[in-house]
Symmetry: C2
Subunit: 186 residues, 2 copies
DNA sequence: GGGTTTATGGACGGCATAGTCAAGAACGCT
DNA sequence: AGCGTTCTTGACTATGCCGTCCATAAACCC
């Protein structure tokens, strides 16, 4: 039910999506929508919030586990993301879309997107620390900094994928990012 | 004149900007706008096109020159970009904004943004090749691939900056990306 | 089963916006 | 200066959209 609303916002953005369209997509009457959420802005916030939760859950599901597999998980995660970003049917990131239109004007959306990024960075940091324990990454490196880089690459892949860059190029960039991580001195 | 229109689109996006607002901002009557450009969509395309040209010119101005300074220029370029992205008054990238709203629905805008990215990647590739000639980057490395990574980081910094990530973090990520470039074996 | 409360949905008002048009001003050319 | 052409302007139309409202249906409680 909320998924249909999310898909509408996702496809046409905040300003470009009418409440009538959402009503049609969800099968609900507009009165019900306004009764349940209060307004367009609040509805978007709700949808956005749920989406952020789902995104964080997805990352947590892909990362975390035993140290030996940490680097493999990171690699799989970033490469899978690159492939997903190249998928033409992929609608780009709702987060990016909501951010572009509302972040500057809506404090709630802005704060939520920032918190989501931080959560993802924390998950990546933990994974890199596992890599350090396992000897796949230089223990002297700053895991938080490297996680910041990987998050940046993550977002960049999203942006380029949305612009139409092909999968080979995106995966190649992801591989270069992983290859650039500091290996431990031997 | 077009700058005022660009600033309006930049501030409030495509769907969120009314032709009346643009008329007020430019000081022109709406009839003139329609006479000169044909419609809102065409006006945006024109503004977007000019912006892409300016962006490419800006990159070409910052990069290119003698081989000895190539790595320093690349470093300065990426760090300056990180700082600029963190600037709160920065309006985010018009390209990203136009992309988010129109790229999937407007073939012209989509194609233009892709071409712009390619031009930037070419400029970075040339700079990396200069670094290889100068011995700052491993000559065995694939300059095009590394340029793809740096472009990805470039776009990622844009996205994170817009979301409100602070300057220290962005610059730190940019530094990590540069530090991860393969140095020549000695 | 009756009465009350709550959810539903489509019609409606009012407002903003995209795009048009005809009248008038500015301008160039002779 | 006179005249035609182009450019400008602001009012006008038609459409679309946000949010409301009320009649109706459903659910729930006793």
């Amino acid at each position: 039910m909320l998924n249909a609303a999310r898909d509408q916002f996702w496809a046409t953005g905040f300003a470009g999506t009418s409440m009538d369209a959402i009503a049609a997509a969800t099968g609900l009457g507009k009165g019900s929508l306004y009764g349940a959420f209060g307004g367009k802005r609040e509805l978007f916030r709700r949808v956005f919030d749920d989406h952020c939760d789902a995104a964080i859950c997805s990352v947590d599901r892909q990362l975390g586990g035993d140290d030996e597999q940490a680097f493999a998980r990171l690699t799989a995660y970033l490469l899978a993301h690159a492939t997903a970003c190249a998928e033409p049917s992929r609608r780009g990131c709702l987060l990016a879309k909501g951010t572009a239109e509302l972040a500057e004007h809506d404090e709630v959306v802005s704060a939520r997107s920032l918190k989501t990024f931080e959560a993802v960075q924390r998950a990546i940091t933990a994974e890199l620390e596992a890599c350090q324990r396992n000897g796949d990454i230089d223990p002297a490196a700053d895991a938080r900094q490297l996680a910041g880089l990987l998050l940046t690459v993550h977002r960049g892949l999203e942006a380029l994928g949305k612009a139409g860059v092909d999968e080979r190029t995106l995966r190649s960039s992801a591989e270069a990012a992983l290859a650039g991580l500091p290996r431990p001195p031997r």
